[in-house]
């Protein structure tokens, strides 16, 4: 009895492994599945799983399924590097999706690039990601590409002068501020004041009082969603009204803004690479499939991950073989249209087009498409 069980177990273990080696194409993902930032990784995994089910309906390279292994990085650089090493060494993956944070990518990128495994960030928006090396791609629009679209909308509404406000102790917020400043200068706006604060601050009254006295047409804020909410709440207390247009960076693009700041956030503009209510058919089909699979609404991170796995699957098909080098070259020829809109890579492996960017406006605590 015991021996028979042992043989059965051995067979059960051996067979799928053998089958996988012969047929499936191993692909890895490094995402934050535990800890404080796990909401991002879990959303990304949901998007990947949904895309995987659709892709494996017919498979790649003439019917071979993709075997996706998602490893948890725990949100740390060490965790991300270990996860990537495990995927390359143990699973022999031909490409990696992720990691979740720009910080993690700066640690993982040099490793995967050195091993010649194409790595595609779906949520990494910091400057310099694709400078890591020729195998590093990203499908997430860097903030520097999104902000100009938002500013164009603001200028169309008559904004001529702008004040900038940012958290000066956080790399993400500082990088967003640099993009805002460059975009405002490029768009010919006159920057009349620049103020900073600490990302854990709760009092912004001094900075806001100063800005209010200068009467700018718009105030752009680069910070994570919590301090942005605090700034807006206090701005309303200090008497900022409809005459001042508030503009958020990537950090403000979160439903939490409406939950924390409520009506104080009304009128804020923010650019987003994706929006749930985008009316095109591909997007609505994705939203419907996501709701059917998980019983909740997808977010930007799920949408970006979903598109990315399709982009990778198409590249594997074009490559004609499941080898990292050929997949890298095939990725450069990407021409895909999905929920994010039309997508191609630049020669530098960044997203080529901002066509898919939607400018959102906060109304009654929720985002809608700005008119």
């Amino acid at each position: 009895m015991r021996r028979r069980t042992a043989i059965a177990v051995a067979l059960a273990l051996a067979l799928p492994a053998h089958a996988r080696a012969a047929e499936s194409v191993p692909v890895g993902a490094v995402e934050i599945l535990s800890g404080p930032n796990s909401a991002y990784g879990i959303a990304i995994k949901a998007g990947l799983d949904l895309a995987l089910a659709a892709i494996n309906g017919k498979g790649v390279l003439g019917g071979r399924p993709i075997a996706l292994t998602v490893e948890d990085s725990g949100g740390t650089k060490d965790g991300a590097i270990n996860a990537a090493r495990k995927l390359i060494g143990r699973d022999k993956v031909v490409a990696i999706i992720g990691p979740t944070l720009s910080n993690e990518m700066f640690a993982v990128g040099p490793v995967t690039n050195g091993r010649g495994v194409p790595t595609i960030g779906t949520s990494t928006t910091a400057k310099g990601i694709t400078d890591i090396g020729p195998f590093i791609f990203r499908t997430s629009l860097p903030e520097a590409d999104v902000v100009p679209v938002t500013l164009r909308k603001a200028i169309a509404r008559g904004v001529k002068t702008i004040a900038l406000l940012y958290a000066n102790d956080d790399a993400f917020s500082k990088s967003g501020f640099d993009s805002m400043k460059a975009a405002a200068e490029a768009a010919g706006l006159s920057i009349i004041d620049i103020e900073s604060f600490g990302s854990k601050d709760t009092d912004f009254s001094a900075q806001l009082t100063k800005i209010k006295a200068l009467k700018p047409d718009a105030v752009a804020i680069s910070a994570l969603v919590e301090p942005v909410s605090g700034v807006l709440l206090q701005a309303r207390q200090l008497g900022f009204g409809k005459e001042t247009l508030f503009i958020g960076g990537n950090g403000a693009n979160s439903p939490k803004l409406g939950q924390i700041a409520g009506a104080a956030a009304d009128g804020l503009l923010v650019g987003s690479p994706w929006f749930i209510a985008k009316p095109d058919k591909l997007n609505q089909a994705f939203v419907a499939a996501f709701r059917a699979a998980y019983g909740k609404d997808p977010d930007q991170f799920a949408a970006q991950a979903y598109d990315t796995l399709f982009i990778l699957a198409e590249a594997i098909d074009r490559a004609g073989a499941a080898t990292p080098e050929k997949i890298r070259d095939a990725l450069l020829a990407t021409d895909h249209t999905g929920p994010l809109g039309p997508f191609r890579f630049t020669d530098h492996r960044d997203p080529a087009s901002t066509e898919g960017v939607v400018v959102l406006e906060m109304r009654g605590g929720v985002f809608g498409i700005a008119e």
Binding site: A206, G239, K256
Partner: protein, 292 residues
């Protein structure tokens, strides 16, 4: 603009003073640098959040949250500090024990409730701001200012005007002698914990209301400022804490408004260093005098 900035500074300073009151009381009487204090601040804010979400009015939720935070303080301080007091451990021991405990408490709370920022139900206090000659003040800010004044007055009366206060001061002076005179120092220590925790809790509610951001680490963010305030004001000095709080608030706001917003914190902590250099007992303190 200067008028508005000065008002901003006084209001910010009032929040610092409000936060620091119980912290400085604890030190003055029990000779304990109690870093868990920041946790009682967080606890008060969360209790008020849950009470008001259950439909209880702020007028009732505020005292209830303060009492709740005070009760938590009695239990936690009792567990952490009784042994140290019996062993007559020095201030550094209490600093280390409470530092470890408060980090564990914050992390535990984050694991339980998540790191998200919550806000009190809208409409608890009038959302509008009063406009006095172009200077704007919100109802929550007026509440904080009034509460700081009332609590400082109440605390001074308790410590200086009552028999209980006499016992507290006796204990602050010499715990052993006070015990020999028939003062139950263990009970008195618990009472001081309660008052200190309740002050922290009330501060948590009011400051949570003003900035509308309640999260497990909110006490930690205030703690550094609280430290500056009690050291500049003189450890254990109640009036000193009030004055130092206001001073820090005004200096921070004026720095951000007229110098550079990036220097706001640098100036606050530079004051701390300067005070420690020139007047180690605090701006308003007298060396060698037991305060409470």
């Amino acid at each position: 603009m200067l008028a508005q900035q000065l008002v901003n500074g006084v209001l910010l300073g009032a929040t610092y003073a409000l936060f620091a009151l119980g912290f400085t009381l604890m030190f003055g009487v029990l000779r304990v640098i109690n870093l868990v204090y920041g946790f009682y601040f967080t606890a008060g804010a969360f209790l008020a959040l849950w009470l008001t979400e259950a439909g209880i009015s702020l007028a009732l939720a505020l005292p209830l949250a303060a009492i709740g935070a005070g009760a938590i303080a009695v239990v936690v301080d009792g567990l952490l500090l009784t042994r140290l007091r019996r062993a007559k451990a020095d201030e550094l021991s209490s600093l280390m024990v409470t530092l470890g405990a408060v980090l564990a408490l914050y992390a535990g709370m984050t694991a339980w409730l998540g790191p998200d920022i919550r806000r009190l139900p809208p409409g608890l206090v009038g959302a509008g701001a009063l406009d006095l000659l172009g200077v704007r003040v919100t109802v929550a800010q007026v509440l904080i200012l009034a509460a700081s004044g009332v609590l400082v007055g109440g605390l001074l009366w308790l410590v200086r005007g009552t028999r209980l206060g006499l016992a507290i001061r006796a204990m602050a002076e010499k715990p052993d002698a006070a015990a020999l005179m028939g003062i139950d120092t263990a009970r008195l220590a618990a009472l001081v914990s309660f008052v200190s925790g309740a002050l922290a809790g009330a501060g948590g509610v009011l400051i949570g209301l003003n900035f509308n951001a309640i999260h497990p680490y909110m006490g930690e963010a205030m703690m550094l400022r609280g430290f500056v305030v009690v050291i500049v004001g003189g450890l254990g000095d109640i009036v000193g804490a009030l004055l130092a709080g206001l001073l820090l608030g005004i200096v921070e706001v004026l720095t951000a408004g007229y110098l550079a917003s990036g220097l706001k914190e640098a100036v606050g902590f530079a004051i701390l260093v300067l005070v420690l250099w020139t007047r180690p007992a605090g701006l308003f303190g007298r060396a060698g005098v037991a305060r409470a």
